[in-house]
């Protein structure tokens, strides 16, 4: 285990030190006093674990493939950008475009997230990315989403868990939103249904993992009902440019 004090360390030097520590055989890295340093754990492949104290900068874990990250605070924009594998647990809020073009791995956020979360998320065979949001989301959740799974718990209540234009341009994957989502909040490319028994069982497992990660008492968020959002078609804009 290696501990690095990141206070006042320029992002480039911090990331060099992280890579050197991994090269020297560290499996677990604790980063203290992080504040705004970008690109942490980007493109790192392997079974490492990171504990981040403070607010990591933009593009945390971009292209990451394998590591386990715990953020003990808020995260900024573009977490898990094009991430390929691994797990990120964020104990606070996260910003805009979380999971941008994400193609594998999992992100659990305890609190709220910003706009355009899960934009262009995709999946292929066994590579199915997952984003679980404990709080509320901004507008354009799952915009142009092509694959993967998004779960929104809407805590602390089930009032307005998502913003407007939810699922605009969505053509793959699935979203499960706690409670009901009024039609006006939906992009025209998505339709609402009720989760199947199998999906409900899957969601129960997700909720209990959420409770475990964040040390909540079991069943504090139990007994939830979800709305399932899925795309109407797989090519919503297929005819956009051929009509004229």
């Amino acid at each position: 285990m290696v501990t690095i004090d990141a206070r006042g360390v320029y992002y480039m030097h911090l990331n060099k030190r992280i890579r050197q520590a991994l090269k020297d055989g560290a499996l677990e890295i604790i980063l203290k006093n992080v504040n705004g340093q970008r690109y942490i754990a980007d493109a790192i492949r392997g079974n490492f674990s990171f504990s981040i104290e403070g607010v990591p900068g933009n593009d945390l874990a971009a292209y990451m493939d394998g590591p386990h990250i715990v953020v003990k605070g808020n995260a900024q924009d573009a977490v898990a950008n094009t991430m390929n594998g691994g797990t990120i647990i964020i104990h606070g809020d996260a910003g805009d475009t979380l999971g941008y073009a994400m193609r594998g791995g999992e992100v659990f956020v305890r609190g709220n997230v910003g706009y355009r979360v899960g934009i262009h998320m995709k999946e292929y065979q066994e590579q199915v990315p997952l984003i679980v949001i404990g709080g509320k989301t901004g507008d354009f959740l799952g915009e142009y989403m092509a694959g993967g799974i998004i779960v929104v718990l809407g805590l602390p209540d089930d009032m307005e868990p998502v913003g407007n234009y939810c699922g605009t341009g969505m053509h793959g994957g699935v979203m499960f939103i706690r409670g009901n989502v009024p039609d006006y909040k939906l992009g025209r490319e998505v339709q609402k249904t009720t989760p199947t028994a199998k999906e409900q069982h899957y969601l129960t497992g997700i909720v209990s993992r959420y409770e475990n990660y964040f040390g909540l008492e079991e069943k504090t968020v139990g007994g939830m009902s979800f709305t399932k959002l899925a795309p109407v078609g797989i090519r919503p804009y297929g005819n956009m440019y051929v009509k004229f």
């Binding site: 992002y11 504040n35 705004g36 970008r38 403070g54 607010v55 900068g57 933009n58 808020n74 900024q76 924009d77 809020d93 910003g95 805009d96 709220n112 910003g114 706009y115 901004g138 507008d139 354009f140 913003g163 407007n164 234009y165 006006y184």
Partner: protein, 383 residues
């Protein structure tokens, strides 16, 4: 002056700002640290600051900050200033030699009051007189640019990284109760001294991350009311839009926000009737002042600050509170750099203004004729 504009570099910009609502002043050192943390968001082609409460000994004078290309144009401009204003004091703004700050223009400052005989002769109020003279200098005196013209406030800007600009202007020697800052990453317009943010007029200042697709529509409308856009950049128009809507037309700030960042029509249709009527009227009357395109801005004035995103939030913005301080910045880390443990941190929604005003006591200590009128009771035209 350095002009650069032949290349297009996509990305960026950083903004940061804070207010102490009680009017307690802090030195420029804090805002420099905050904007410096976001160094990567700018590219060295522009940085700047706006500071309020910094000239208490000259609080009744308009503080003019000017760039000159040479001494000939300075002398010509000073003749013009002396014809129109009584000058209490004038001279170069104190700077220090700073690595990375090159190709300097002449940077001068004057504390002035309009000549009363001219005000009577033109039957014009003071603010309007000042605006007309600023527009006159900026549009018809090549090589002279007024980049600050408010009372008890000032803009400090140039070509360079913002932390270097702050060091250059010795901002740690000034104390203000409002500070805003900008790190520039020019995209579609030249990086030159006059094009750095903030853009100011009277005591308005704007720092802006983004670009305005509606610039020409906005500009044409503004020009009908005498605001001339001469600084080769879109942000200038935002400053003039708030001057027109709030100062000249007397709109409350929330209605001005409904003009520049209106909700979509389908959202307006779902509003309760009274609110819907205000939003419909704002969009119909001022359709040419809708700011289209991505932006996050911090508007500064003698009464307070307002941070605002475009309606679909295409640029980052985070806010935080701690005691009497309200902070806004492009990134949360830029706030925590100077306020490690805020009471509350949040990301405002698109089109949802974050407003921090001086409290009544602090306001009384400020000048009587401020501009940021918010209260519903003041919703009458003052023009």
């Amino acid at each position: 002056m350095l002009r650069e504009g032949d290349i297009r570099i996509p990305s960026g910009c950083a903004i940061s700002g804070f207010i102490n609502r009680k009017g307690n002043t802090v030195s420029g050192e804090q805002i420099i640290r905050s904007i410096a943390l976001m160094h990567e968001r700018s590219n060295g082609l522009g940085g700047g600051f706006a500071a309020y409460g910094i000239y208490p000994e000259f609080r009744d004078y308009f503080a003019f900050h000017l760039f000159y290309e040479n001494h000939a144009v300075r002398e010509e401009t000073e003749r013009y200033l002396n014809k129109n204003f009584n000058m209490e004091m004038g001279g170069p703004i104190p700077t220090r030699k700073t690595t990375g700050i090159r190709n300097l223009p002449l940077i001068w400052r004057y504390f002035v009051k309009p000549k009363l005989e001219l005000l009577y002769q033109d039957e014009m109020n003071t603010n309007e007189f000042v605006v007309e003279r600023v527009m006159e200098i900026n549009s018809s005196m090549p090589g002279a640019y007024v980049f600050s013209s408010g009372k008890n406030m000032g803009a400090f800007k140039g070509v360079g990284y913002p932390e270097d600009i702050g060091e250059f202007y010795r901002l740690e020697e000034y104390k203000g109760h409002i500070w805003t800052a900008h790190g520039r990453f020019p995209t579609n317009t030249p990086g030159w001294w006059g094009g750095a943010h903030p853009f100011t007029l009277l005591d308005w200042s704007i720092v802006h991350n983004g670009e305005i697709s509606s610039y020409d529509a906005n500009r044409r409308y503004l020009e009908m009311f005498g605001h001339k856009c001469t600084l080769q950049t879109d942000t200038e128009a935002i400053t003039y839009i708030f001057d027109l809507l709030v100062r000249k037309h007397g709109l409350p700030l929330d209605v001005a926000v409904a003009v520049v960042a209106p909700p979509f029509w389908n959202e307006i249709d779902r509003m309760p009737p009274e609110k819907r009527a205000i939003h419909r009227a704002a969009r119909l009357v001022y359709s040419s002042l809708l700011i289209n395109g991505p932006f996050s801005i911090v508007l500064g004035s003698s009464r307070g600050i307002m941070a605002l995103n475009d309606r679909i939030k295409l640029r980052p913005l985070t806010a935080a509170e701690k005691g009497d301080f309200l902070y806004v910045a492009s990134e949360e880390s830029a706030i925590r750099e100077i306020c490690p443990q805020p009471d509350r941190v949040w990301m405002p929604r698109g089109g949802e203004p974050v407003i921090g005003l001086l409290n009544d006591q602090a306001l009384q200590a400020e000048e009587e004729e401020g501009m940021l009128h918010m209260a519903v009771g003041e919703r009458t035209s003052r023009s």
